[in-house]
């Protein structure tokens, strides 16, 4: 019989703080991934040209879109890695149970999403600075990052997307713990849906449900509900796993 009684909250808190530092590799990889994305933003920036035979005009577009997308990939892989055996076994250094371990993982993923969001949004200023130093003739240098309200909205939007992708990654990782076949099944399902049901009503509705939502509040609710569902399924999957001996 234990002499001290610890609450779930305090265990989760301690594990969360531990993970913040022991999973530093993830944060370091975030920096590398974002730097690569910033480089891609310059190398592969979109553009369009037109002319009247006398004057030909080419306009390149700079954006943090690639940084946000790469950050999504990063949070997705980080979420999958958190469910791997190597990471899960680290939790046994602590007084823990499956619930506290999963909750601290979720808290870590939310922190990762927030960190990724802030750095991705701030990378817009970095991209501006580089274009300024390169003396690129800009058509709208004052609109490089946008007004405060635009920044707040973009930050909220990016954060919600990262939370959603992180939850999906965690769900995929949990499924992969049942069977490694899921690693192949998920891309295959995505592939088949994209081709066979390319223009089907269901795919269109799914696409519109998330990516065409015009209200940030409704989008936030959708992300919250979806993430809770995905994390909930993941928690159920892990609770059915055998104990480590």
């Amino acid at each position: 019989m234990p002499l001290t009684k610890v609450s779930l909250g305090s265990v989760v808190g301690k594990q969360y703080v531990y993970k913040l530092f022991s999973y530093a590799d993830a944060i370091k990889s975030l920096i590398i991934v974002q730097l690569i994305a910033i480089a891609f933003s310059f190398l592969g920036s979109m553009g369009g040209g037109t002319g009247n035979g006398q004057v030909n005009i080419w306009v390149s577009y700079y954006s943090i879109d690639i940084v946000v997308v790469f950050t999504m990939l990063w949070v997705f892989t980080t979420a999958i890695l958190l469910t791997s055996k190597a990471y899960r076994y680290e939790d046994y250094s602590f007084v823990t149970n499956r619930l506290s371990s999963q909750l601290s993982n979720i808290a870590f993923l939310l922190t990762a999403a927030m960190t990724g969001t802030i750095t991705a949004i701030l990378s817009g200023y970095f991209i501006f600075l580089i274009t300024h130093l390169r003396n690129v003739p800009m058509l709208n240098s004052t609109a490089a990052v946008g007004s405060l309200s635009e920044i707040v909205l973009a930050t909220c939007g990016a954060f919600l997307y990262l939370v959603l992708v992180g939850a999906f990654g965690y769900f995929v990782g949990a499924c992969a713990q049942i069977s490694k076949l899921f690693i192949l099944i998920f891309p295959a399902v995505f592939f088949v849906i994209s081709i066979v049901f390319e223009s089907s009503f269901i795919v269109e509705q799914f696409f519109q449900f998330y990516f065409m939502e015009k209200s940030i509040w409704i989008f936030g609710v959708k992300v919250l509900v979806t993430s809770v569902a995905l994390y909930g399924i993941a928690l159920m999957i892990f609770s059915k796993r055998e104990v480590r001996l």
Binding site: F21, A24, D25, A26, I27, K28, I31, I32, V33, S45, M46, T50, G51, Q54, V55, N56, I57, W58, V59, S60, Y61, Y62, S63, D65, V68, L73, T77, T78, L81, I118, L122, S123, G124, Y125, F126, L129, H132, P137, M138, L139, N140, S141, T142, A144, V145, G146, E150, L153, A154, G157, P187, F191, I195, E198, F211, M212, E213, K214, S215, I216
Partner: protein
Amino acid sequence: MTFLMTVLTTLIPLLIVGSLIVIIIVFIRLWQTTSKKVISRKKMHWILGGYVMILFLSMIIYYLIPTNEEDSTQRPVLPRENWIIQNDENPIIEIDEKTTDYSIPELDYLDYIDPSLERGSWTFPYEKESIRIDMGYSDTGSWTVVTGRKNENDGEIDVTLYSEPYTVGNIDISDDIDFLNVDIGKDELYLYHPTEIELKYATYKKPFVYTQFRGGGFEDLDIRKPYYGLQVVYLEIPKDLELTTTLDQSIEIIEN
């Protein structure tokens, strides 16, 4: 063929994304095996803090850099009613906004042209009885020639070039444009563009995590629809000078 294209267009992005995910996973795994598992808080602060510091510094510099309103590439375009070569009471050139079709009705005066639209002026001494107006071959673009006769034979041809602004995405880029040039030969007046020019600009597109909720994405940018302004060459020729041309278009002559 269509099915194959669908497969390829789906498979390629999937493979790219999958490869990136695998690369990131391998990268993190390798890092774990080659470095200490738990790094100190101090070191962690330095790595993340240093990166965030660079980003914050960029933000501070962004707000410190003054925007030069006089820069041609940042100058907003004049209101359209000030552009032209027209006046409600006495129009020189009428613009059909819908079709952007230009027509020259009764040409009486050029007094109503906005002075800021003047792009150049030339005076050529010319004593012969006739002159031919010619254009450099394969010259395109929208332009027109308007001619007025002087009240006397002063032996000089005066040329003034006007042009509407050239705009890209509501930004006036006229200062970067090489407008029509004018030169005189033995018995010809040449109009020509110096060279074909290529202008490169860049712009910032708002991120999709913003445009999804407020619009203004790539599809809404009107930067892809530049406006090539109409150039008007206004000639003032001696009273009795005969005018001929090889130009495809007619030359409007203002007779006194």
